[in-house]
């Protein structure tokens, strides 16, 4: 027993010492490859989306490498796990910045992406944000970051337009209290009230809650024509199921954090007829057909909602590196800013003065037979 303990303790110590050494000798970017950082949550509650985005980047990098790489060099990917937590994201971003990445693709969970902007800004690293879309990111952007996902404001416009077209007069808006869902909820409330319609209830629920009966009772009492859930699918699925079980019969709409196929696993039949606002997902994009097939073949499941955008992000960055003709950060950022509305999987990409997408790309989906279908 004593020997085991001693051996174990010594092993642990040696392990820690070796770990310390590896901190010192961070792998320097190899001369003959171009390192691209991928900042996504690969652990934690949002890991499904994060890994999905990472897979999309892998496919893009693979395709580029098969065609001979960038500037004659192969692309090498390095992951930075943000875990959807600001502190973790800062650690990940510092690690990527210290690894001399040529550029960074990714960014999911606006709250976690926000503090990383300064790190990439200080290092002047081009950062293509492919999912985070809170409007709070815009003033914090030092100019090196480019948001290729439509922002909350674009989604609000689409949501209000759609609900008006359905003849909806009053709506209950429910968010989860995180940066993304509250931003979307506030914007929708303001736009909805501006359109002269009624906000019957405005609620914030806690992440990870299991029982929504109090909220369901409240919503039923307010009796709105529609309920708009602005947060993510895991809790959204539960809320939808409990709303329907509680006898709510109005329209249910969900924001783009909830348009995952997993919503049907959680909500079951209650998700039938639910509307979802969505960034253009692979299955509804004619151009993304071969991408979807490659994805299914490699990873065994269909690409998630941010996969095409993230694939586009990697391709756009590659395009900018080719255009700049160098791996220096400055020229690549200039090249990104000059994106000329070329068609990508998700549609044309060009940027406003604030480095946000010039043209919204939201679509409306409807739950039909356990999967999403285009509603319009």
């Amino acid at each position: 027993m004593r020997i085991t303990r001693r051996t174990l303790a010594l092993t642990a110590f040696a392990g820690a010492a070796l770990g310390g050494l590896s901190l010192a000798s961070l792998p320097a970017a190899a001369q003959d490859s171009i390192t691209i950082g991928v900042q996504v949550p690969t652990t934690g509650p949002e890991a499904t989306y994060g890994n999905d985005m990472f897979n999309a980047v892998k496919i893009a990098a693979q395709e580029i490498n098969e065609k001979g790489g960038l500037l004659g060099r192969q692309i090498e990917l390095t992951a930075g796990d943000s875990a959807c937590d600001p502190q973790q994201a800062v650690n990940a971003a510092s690690k990527l910045a210290s690894q001399d990445v040529v550029g960074v693709v990714g960014g999911y969970c606006s709250g976690a992406t926000l503090p990383t902007l300064k790190i990439y800004g200080d290092a002047n690293i081009p950062f293509v944000i492919t999912a985070s879309n809170s409007t709070k990111l815009i003033p914090a952007n030092p100019g090196n970051a480019f948001m290729i996902n439509s922002t909350g404001a674009d989604q609000t416009t689409k949501a209000v337009e759609f609900m008006e077209s359905k003849g909806i007069e009053s709506v209950a808006i429910v968010n989860q209290g995180d940066a993304y869902s509250q931003d979307l909820a506030n914007l929708t409330r303001d736009a909805w009230e501006q359109a002269g319609k009624k906000v019957a209830a405005f609620e914030t629920v806690n992440k990870g809650e299991q029982d929504y009966s109090a909220l369901v009772t409240k919503i039923k009492a307010a009796d709105p024509d529609a309920v708009f859930w602005t947060a993510y699918y895991a809790d959204g699925g539960l809320l939808i199921r409990q709303l329907r079980q509680g006898g709510y019969r109005g329209t249910i709409a969900v924001g783009d954090g909830s348009n995952s196929p997993k919503l049907f696993e959680i909500a079951g039949r209650a998700a039938e007829g639910v509307y979802a606002f969505s960034n253009p997902t692979a299955e509804f994009l004619p151009k993304a057909k071969s991408f979807s097939e490659t994805y299914k073949k490699q990873f065994g499941n269909a690409p998630g909602p941010y996969a095409p955008l993230t694939y586009d992000g990697m391709m756009l960055l590659a395009w900018a590196i080719e255009k700049a003709g160098t791996t220096d950060h400055g020229p690549i950022i200039e090249a990104l800013a000059s994106a000329d509305g070329q068609e990508w999987l998700s549609g044309p990409i060009s940027f406003t003065d604030e480095n946000t997408l010039a043209r919204s790309n939201f679509i409306v989906l409807e739950g039909k037979g356990g999967e999403w279908a285009l509603a319009e």
């Binding site: 303790a9 690690k95 503090p115 003033p139 914090a140 209290g177 931003d183």
Partner: protein
Amino acid sequence: MADDAASRRRRDPAPSRPNTGVAQLLAVFDDPRKFWLAIAVVLVAVAVAPLLFGQYATVILTNALLYVVLCLGLNIVVGYAGLLDLGYAAFFAVGAYAVAILGQQTALGFWAAIPFALVAAAAAGVIIGGPTLRLRSDYLAIVTLGFGEIVRFSARNLEITGAASGISGIEQPSLFGWHIDSPTEFYYVFALLSVFAVIASVRLANSRLGRAWLYVRHDEDAAEAMGIDRVRVKLAAYVIGSIYGAIGGIFFAVNLGAISPESFSFEQSVLILMAVILGGMGKIPGVILGAFIIVLGPELLRDLGELRLLVFAVGLLLIMLFRPSGIWPSRKS
């Protein structure tokens, strides 16, 4: 303290702990002759670390030093006074939010805002300390847990705290014309804070108040019978602990430049408590070691991708299995 250790050695020549490699190494700090040498080595290592390693390592080490301050603060509440606190992140949040709000809403500079942040944290300490003084063990834990969540939910729902998006664009401070903004500069700020935190903790442990905490921890009723004002002593633990937390929060806020409620979650409180228990409750070097393990562990395992937290958790379990009272426990308990 030196006399104390020396006399104990004379009476008890055989070391009571298992004679493992770690214990031998840790024993260096317990030996008064080697103590100052060991301190000097640690200080030099802390001072040159950012020069040797890259910026990433500096950021991670800064984070570890932040945890050192937080863990030493919680150690006063949990380790010294024996009050289980599951909502320690609340004090961390109060410090961070106070300095961020004062920086944005008033013309006070960063340094002038610090006293207000500390007063706010001390008030929070009294608020949580007041009603919980009569509670013990699990009841106390539940109330502190509730308090932590109340603070986080308030931050998430109040307009002044920026609701869920938090507060961004927090100005980095200047001191006598020196603008603190690079990771290396923040590293030294946190190193300095840690040194102060350690000195304060040592002085507190050896003070009259420190002894009172020890008695209260061992037997509340007996302590009261001996004339110790239980209420005052426990409140002091909460208030001092909250000030440590607030100091950590204040510099955390200016270092990140943006704060949001996700940083002050229940997981954060648990993580800090875990570091204290892992290292060895009540023992300052143990707590520091715990803080470093909790921060560096997941970072060193980053290359394992999605498995890293699993591997880290197994590592923590192994540590608790083989050293149930912490890696470097206090002898007094």
